[in-house]
Symmetry: C2
Subunit: 325 residues, 2 copies
Amino acid sequence: MDIEQLAEKILAGDRRALARAITLVESRREDHRAQATELLERLSTSGRQALRIGLSGTPGVGKSTFIESFGMLLTGQGLRVAVLAVDPSSARSGGSILGDKTRMERLSREPGAFIRPSPSQTHLGGVARRTREAVALCEAAGFDVVLIETVGVGQSETVVSEMSDLFLLLLAPAGGDELQGVKRGIMEMADLILINKADGDLKPAATRTCADYSGALRLLRKRPQDPEGFPKALMVSAIEEQGLAEAWNEMQALANWRKENSHWAANRAAQARYWFDQEVRHALLARLETDASKAEMERLSAEVSEGRLSPAAAAERMLAALKAQ
Amino acid sequence: MDIEQLAEKILAGDRRALARAITLVESRREDHRAQATELLERLSTSGRQALRIGLSGTPGVGKSTFIESFGMLLTGQGLRVAVLAVDPSSARSGGSILGDKTRMERLSREPGAFIRPSPSQTHLGGVARRTREAVALCEAAGFDVVLIETVGVGQSETVVSEMSDLFLLLLAPAGGDELQGVKRGIMEMADLILINKADGDLKPAATRTCADYSGALRLLRKRPQDPEGFPKALMVSAIEEQGLAEAWNEMQALANWRKENSHWAANRAAQARYWFDQEVRHALLARLETDASKAEMERLSAEVSEGRLSPAAAAERMLAALKAQ
């Protein structure tokens, strides 16, 4: 593969070249990895930055409809939008959350939109690196907005928020006592909580849910990266395309405030350091991922959980086993 | 030191022997570590279990007063209570949160109570191991309740909740718009939120705050280890000794439910596995803690945050540097 030519095509905004490049960064073959590294180095000087928006929401909240309506709003304003997904469960469930492009039929036909399903890797670390690199490719290809979607399996929200400039949480209205149960800790990451389905019969429930979350957000400590009034909860109807322009205004207001108050650049630099640190730690801990190590960890872990060995004594034995390997 | 004799004294409930043993597990000397390991092995067969209660609350919420009043309630019922602290900041602040025993004057004079300040170690991993081992020593010494206190610096709440059977969050009433700002993520751990200072002029504010948190807790997803109605928020007045018996009843009800539904033993086994895993990872990552490694990480990290090197490329260089060391 001619990497120089591929880089040029990406910089020219060629979507097929972008798709090929993402396939390259997803590959586990060593020669592909070397090519991917070379490609990313070449593109790193483009200086282009997109607004990276992380989006989490459990199945049933209308995430696909939201992405489609919100994406159409942005492309209608002349903006180019890329949609990526982080779904470490996709290998297990046999299909990615964005695998079925027909779920975003209109958006997938838009020339200004690019939709890429989650790769089927069970390993979150692998998905994280691939998605970060795909985001960098989309930025080099001149996209204005990169939406990074997750269903929030395990730690995937942390992964997405650590590569986003803004983080959105999409919720459905809670009816009466039937509570939807936001995953604990998720409010830590949200910049904007969007209560979807604020239409028809669900409007009153959406209003109540929005008030509940507004109240809950006020109980949390103010973060330095938030201007007055953020994080906030808003109502939207993706299906009726209501409230989306207002939500987009809020996102832009927040992004601009962070840019003017140097939080934007500081956040991106901190994220890069975070990922560097994660990559190093991940590589060091990879010694625990061999079959022999896993078997020994499992054996010792059983002794620990049965109280026959203290955690410290078991750890000493594990380290001795690693040295002997 | 005669470890066999020390073990016997601890099993007989000798408080001075217990204090000496905690000093031993706190020591960083290698010969002390070997003795500590031997001592813990000897005591591990005692089969004694205390109720381990984690307690977090920022300065100003009345934590010392609460521990004193709550501790007196327990000793008044004939129970033996040990109080330990996890405060990784104590080295910096020049004194531990429990350093001043006069803050718990009555309790420190109780024969059924044992109070131990946080050791002055900056390193949270070190504090965590020492505290786990101190908890094990207190259990072997026959204490019925072990209170593990933290001010919630950095990750210390996670550390405490991972060694507790129950986790309490102590809050002060919020007055009007003046919100106290619970650290995001902390509600994930709380089994019981206690609104202290529900007395005098602050009673109405405490009632409102309690209702606010009750509402917020209902918005969170139910955990398998919680019976109906938990986690819950309650009002107490540590200074007027109001609501403490009710809070203790709730703690016992929760503990009993978890014991009957096998969550108790499963939780302790999971915690032991967690600490084993943490000890192994900590030891593997210790290679990054040498002065040479730190300098190289810092140098590469700066290049990454300035965009001159990708996180993945920088990580490859760091690993090469570690191999060459």
